[in-house]
């Protein structure tokens, strides 16, 4: 196998991992963000802190604990092995699960912010027009916070592409299975293959730059302005009006 096809394999593995991770993150992150945005008890702070942990922890710490949890000696790893018949540690599935934890704040935080800023006004108006909770979510909340969903998905994807520490701990560097771009780059550097390393590194830089620019461009041109205040004359009692456009996800 040539170096080139090795890198291509790593690229495919990376895209597959990031794509699947993003898919699951949106599935898990959206209800979690909604729950956090609506939650009023003190426990909220604790859950927020857990969600934000991957932002501050060295990825190797997270990777270390995941490695232990995924090993057949412990319950999560055992359960996995019983259900699927395969070992979880050093598998592609382990990469995806690890990435979900690692990129969770990048999805949850912008969505939570958007849901909080959207407030309850439009939802109440929807309920008064006979729209049930799911109906309200898909016909009101989702279109009004679409930009935040795009931000969340893009950040989740991009952050997963860029991960190294977690993958290093739980991946195992199996070509076509768990060998991702960031690891491939590290291997090139270790082997003094600076040309390949340059090619990979610069491609990652450019791709990330393009993706992030696209997100910021999208956020600077909001799809709509939920703030109708400028059209609402002499309103001194407008405490119910929503604040600013809910589309600027927190980009950490």
């Amino acid at each position: 196998m040539t170096e080139f096809s090795d890198d291509s394999l790593a690229l495919i593995t990376t895209l597959k991992m990031a794509g699947l991770t993003t898919f699951f993150l949106m599935l898990i992150g959206t209800p979690l963000a909604w729950f956090l945005a609506k939650m009023q008890s003190r426990g909220k702070v604790f859950i927020e802190a857990i969600v934000a942990l991957p932002l501050v922890l060295p990825p190797t710490v997270l990777g270390f604990y995941l490695l232990i949890a995924f090993s057949p000696q412990y319950l999560p790893g055992q359960l996995w092995q019983e259900v699927t018949g395969q070992q979880l540690a050093f598998s592609f599935s382990a990469l995806v699960i690890g990435s979900i934890f690692y990129s969770l704040p990048f999805v949850v935080q912008p969505l939570q912010k958007a849901f909080e800023q959207l407030g309850t006004d439009y939802l109440e108006a929807g309920a008064m027009l006979n729209a049930g909770p799911l109906d309200r979510f898909f016909t009101l909340v989702f279109p009004m916070t679409k930009a935040s969903f795009i931000t969340a998905a893009s950040l989740g994807f991009a952050h997963t592409v860029g991960e190294f520490g977690v993958v290093l701990m739980i991946g195992g560097n199996i070509p076509g299975e768990t060998r991702v771009l960031s690891i491939a780059l590290f291997d090139h550097v270790e082997a003094f293959n600076y040309t390949q390393a340059h090619t990979l590194a610069i491609s990652l830089v450019i791709a990330s730059l393009v993706l992030l620019s696209a997100i910021y461009l999208l956020n600077h041109r909001p799809i709509f302005q939920p703030n109708s205040q400028h059209n609402f004359q002499g309103n001194s009692r407008s405490k119910h009006l929503p604040q600013k456009s809910g589309n600027n996800g927190k980009v950490t």
Binding site: E124, A125, M128, L129, G132, M144, F224, H230, R237, S238
Partner: protein
Amino acid sequence: MMNKLTLNIESDCNQFSLAIDQCLSFSGIVGVFGHSGSGKTTLLRAIAGLNQQTTGSIVFNDHVLLDSNNNKNLKAENRNISMVFQEPRLFPHLNVEQNLDFAIKRCQHSQLNKKDIIELTNITSMLDKNITQLSGGEQQKVALARAILSEPKLLLLDEPLSALDRKSKKELISLLKTVNKKLNLPMIYVSHSSEELQQLAEQLVVIEQGKIIEVGNVHQVFHQLNTTQLIKQQTSLAVTVEEINERHGLVKLGLAEQHIFMSLAQLADDDKELITQLSSLRCYIFASDISITTIEPTNSSIVNQLEAKIIKINQDRSQVLITLQCQQQEFFASISSYSLDKLALSINQNVYIQFKASAVRTLTI
């Protein structure tokens, strides 16, 4: 058709608890009057189902909305009640027509014709516009049309005009009257503006500190409130329009068998046109604009002079509120205690009340 709303509810607010036990039978618009923080919006939200902490029971025309003893609490979307809020809350990602369609799609037994309602609310020219292109008054008209098109059994209005300028206010008030009459849609209208309620409501409920303190015919309730600090003391009148005297800028209004004159000068130009088509009108006269004389005034520039009998005298420090009976109508005059002593006024005394044509006020035509 008479509608019946039975309320027996309690709900905790920040400063007080709402406790209402009242049965309302009504056909037209019920007004709920109270100052900011009196609990009137909380009451409306409890009826709508937007305040899920409410306990007790709410029954509207045999339809049980809330019965916490039997663990029944219908969700807002299942109550068949619609609401127009203080701010229009039109969905910004949809244009005007799509906002209307949102309501129509979720209406179970659609009977109204969309086009009719669009024409009735006068929003035909706005259909393809974005929400942000509309003025506050236009937005509120669309919100009203949207609420009507969801075909509720009861329409709640939470200070829908408080953020609008006077012109839009007048336009929407006459629109609400028309809607109420043409569609026979029962409405509860909450406001802290006595002026709006005087125009719209048939019955008035007054709330203070989460409790109902007055209920009844709108004119009578306003007269009851004259002895409280809640409104500016006034006489609330329902009159018929009899004659327009354009040369003198006066409208002759019928009040039982008597007449009073209103000045046309206070009206906007288009209202002057409109008043000729009207048969009846609601207006009010502030108690401070009515004066009392014990002998018949003959050479006065004040056009309205009526004979009346004093039936009540309320003295509050230096200010005195005199209630007078003039045939079937009560009038309220506020005078100083100095004048009370000087004229030696007493109950059952016959006097004359006087007020200028410009003292007869009305919010809408």
